[in-house]
């Protein structure tokens, strides 16, 4: 029987199976951060239970941490409730243990979905969970990786397992070469625009095709990251030379004889020829253009050369009202060309687009130019301390600073605005993050999701521009 990659990952982690198909699924890697873990550790303590396997845990503080004022230490976290949450993670990891912990201020601290892969703590064939929906990111390494709630965090801490049911298989086949200025971010936004934010609900997505094979690991992570925005909990890409090349020599990747054995195992992590998918969606990469969201859901997206849609043309009443409400919130008139939309702030960062390749691409656009005067704040928030240092080694920080960008310390920052980085009411932002929900980047803030290149170009021009024409 031919199996999909998802079938293989699922089957190899089933500890036991009930008659109704409910399975006890073994978890190899548990990523922990400060926001969704305190109640889980408390629950464990109240029930008098212990952590099942300490060496499965990789922890960091990322959601609440400030991106400035690190010289002030923990006192640099001005918000007392944020500080308590960061300290609570310190206490919990100190008393329970972890394979590795990158606390606030550590030089390897960073966004949990950036530090896992860059340290080789995310390895092909693993089940990876975290109390964060963007855990789907790790699927780029042929992992079965998905976000869980706090009760499940506690369940994994206590049992190393989750009670789960298998999803259906959805293949997203992307063939052809991407055009100049078109990125992985545009592929995934175009996909969400096509199938909708509930299009993948109930499915595990595998991304395949020549356009996916041609992407770097960073690009694949960007696509898998936003799988949850298409409604699916996990997205994945088969192992190939790009995967193996990325992992070689990473701190927690196997070495020597074990590396050879591991690579032999990893090469099996691809769908068998002829494996059956419940649904197939095909995308032609040559037709994908740079994408910009116009509304308050990632499915509300068009290409840069299009206009803001007109709700009057929508037949479905619930959708029409949703569009009208989104346009009111966004302060946009129907039929406005996307290129005429002016922005107030620019955010380059988040678990979607804060890796070294993203920063290189944005810097290439910015180099030798200045942020438009009308832009109040343009900021770059590297995904981790390691990304930050690498970028500084390459002089990218200078490129951004010379252009008028702020160069910040790593963390989740203005993707969800739990720290001090946020939009003020009514402010409009070109953002490389993953969600344009109402209030996501600050109460009343207006988010337009774009690629790093598009965000960088928007910062320079003060409005959205087509990077395909950037010279």
């Amino acid at each position: 029987m031919q199996q999909t990659l998802y079938d293989k990952l699922w089957e190899s982690h089933v500890v036991r199976r009930e008659e109704d198909g409910t399975a006890l699924l073994y978890i190899d890697r548990h990523l922990v951060h400060e926001v969704t873990s305190p109640q889980a550790f408390e629950g464990l303590k109240l029930a008098g239970r212990k952590v099942w396997r300490i060496d499965s845990i990789v922890a960091t503080a990322d959601h609440n941490t400030p991106t400035t004022g690190w010289e002030r230490g923990v006192d640099g976290i001005d918000d007392a409730t944020s500080k308590l949450q960061v300290k609570t993670l310190d206490d919990n990891i100190r008393s329970h243990g972890a394979k590795v912990y990158f606390p606030f201020l550590d030089e390897r601290q960073g966004i949990v979905h950036v530090i896992g892969p860059e340290n080789g703590a995310t390895l092909p064939g693993m089940t990876v969970v975290c109390g964060d929906s963007h855990t789907s990111t790790h699927g780029a390494f042929a992992c079965l990786a998905f976000g869980i709630g706090t009760s499940e965090v506690e369940h994994v801490l206590a049992t190393q397992c989750l009670i789960s049911k298998k999803s259906r298989n959805l293949l997203v086949q992307v063939d052809g070469a991407l055009g100049r200025g078109v990125t992985a971010k545009d592929i995934v936004l175009a996909l969400i625009g096509r199938i909708g934010t509930a299009g993948g609900t109930g499915y595990a997505i595998e991304y395949a095709g020549s356009a996916i094979r041609a992407l770097s690991m960073e690009g694949r992570m960007t696509i898998c990251n936003m799988t949850i925005e298409a409604g699916a909990r996990c997205g994945m890409v088969a192992v190939d030379e790009t995967t193996i090349g990325y992992l070689r020599g990473r701190p927690f990747a196997p070495r020597g004889e074990q590396w050879e054995r591991a690579v032999a195992e990893w090469r099996k992590l691809a769908s068998d020829p002829g494996a059956k998918f419940d649904r197939v969606v095909k995308l032609d990469a040559r037709e994908v253009k740079p994408q910009v969201t116009w509304g308050t859901s990632p499915e509300m997206v068009v290409a840069i050369d299009e206009r803001v849609p007109d709700p009057d043309r929508e037949k479905d009443a619930t959708r029409r009202e949703g569009m009208a409400r989104a346009l009111e919130y966004m302060g946009l008139a129907p039929n406005t060309p996307m290129r005429d939309i002016r922005i107030d702030k620019v955010f380059i960062g988040s678990c979607t687009n804060s890796r070294i390749e993203d920063l290189r691409a944005a810097a290439a656009i910015v180099k030798g130019r200045r942020v438009a005067k009308s832009v109040r704040l343009a900021m770059v928030v590297p995904g981790s301390g390691q990304v930050k240092r690498q970028a500084e080694k390459e002089g990218l920080d200078r490129v951004f600073r010379d252009a008028g960008f702020e160069w910040r310390e790593p963390g989740c920052s203005m993707c969800l605005a739990m720290n001090a980085d946020r939009l003020d009411p009514g402010e409009r932002c070109a953002s490389t993050s993953n969600r344009n929900f109402e209030g996501r980047q600050g109460a009343g803030g207006r988010t337009h999701l774009v690629s790093p290149e598009m965000a960088a170009a928007a910062a320079i021009e003060g409005r959205f521009v087509d990077v395909r024409e950037w010279r």
Partner: protein, 213 residues
């Protein structure tokens, strides 16, 4: 977890699709290290006219009279009626915690975000998926009849009007249903299989040692 068997309650309609967990409970309230106290900030940005912050006295904040849960006729509602893809977005379990803390025991919608649905079931908040046509009909009834209530029977997997004239059936995973009906702790159930987990682990460690240590 609190048991869920039967429940009859007032229905409040939230007539918008794709209600995300950021809307259900905004990020600033996720800084709490507790499981309780999120009710006053449920739908915070829609419910109040100002921007909420943790630690503020929410009772003194200006309410948005247009928001459905602020309308007197829906005071005391315990069943939320919503549109497709309710609870999409982040994995924050604070979303079902906030709904429960506010007083909801069930949410009826055509579909749900998967992680939200999972989180709800683990906390005794019942997400009920009905077909679009049935949800439409309930929206109509709620608007037409002030004080409109529904009765939910988990064991029979039904939602019914209180006069029993209309009965709608819903699906639920048998294992989740069993846990909800009995208020069971899943961790306790899983730990009954600790030996099997250890055996699986030992075999995996031998085959792929690089995954351990």
């Amino acid at each position: 977890m609190e048991r869920f068997t039967v429940h009859t309650g007032l229905v409040a309609p939230l007539d918008r699709a794709n209600v995300d967990t950021d809307a259900i409970i905004p990020k600033q309230f996720l800084k709490s290290i507790k499981r309780s106290g999120f009710g006053p900030n449920l739908f915070d940005a829609w419910r109040y006219r100002d921007v909420g912050e943790p630690g503020r006295d929410d009772a003194k904040r200006p309410l948005n009279p247009d928001f459905v849960l602020n309308q007197p006729r829906y005071r005391g509602a315990s069943i939320l009626l919503a549109r497709a893809n309710f609870g999409c977005g982040s994995s924050r379990e604070h979303a079902p915690w906030a709904l429960l803390d506010f007083g909801f025991r069930a949410v009826i919608a055509p579909s749900f975000g998967e992680i939200f649905q999972n989180n709800s079931l683990k906390n005794g908040l019942l997400p009920i998926a009905l077909v679009e046509r049935e949800v439409d009909a309930i929206f109509h009834d709620v608007a037409a009849f002030p004080g409109f209530r529904l009765s939910i029977d988990l064991d029979r997997q039904t939602v019914a009007t209180t006069d029993g004239a209309k009965v709608m059936r819903f699906e639920i995973d048998p294992f989740r249903k069993y846990c909800l009906l009995n208020g069971l702790d899943e961790i306790g159930l899983t730990l009954r299989h600790a030996d099997e987990i250890r055996a699986y682990e030992a075999q995996r460690r031998a085959a792929q040692p690089w995954l351990f240590g």
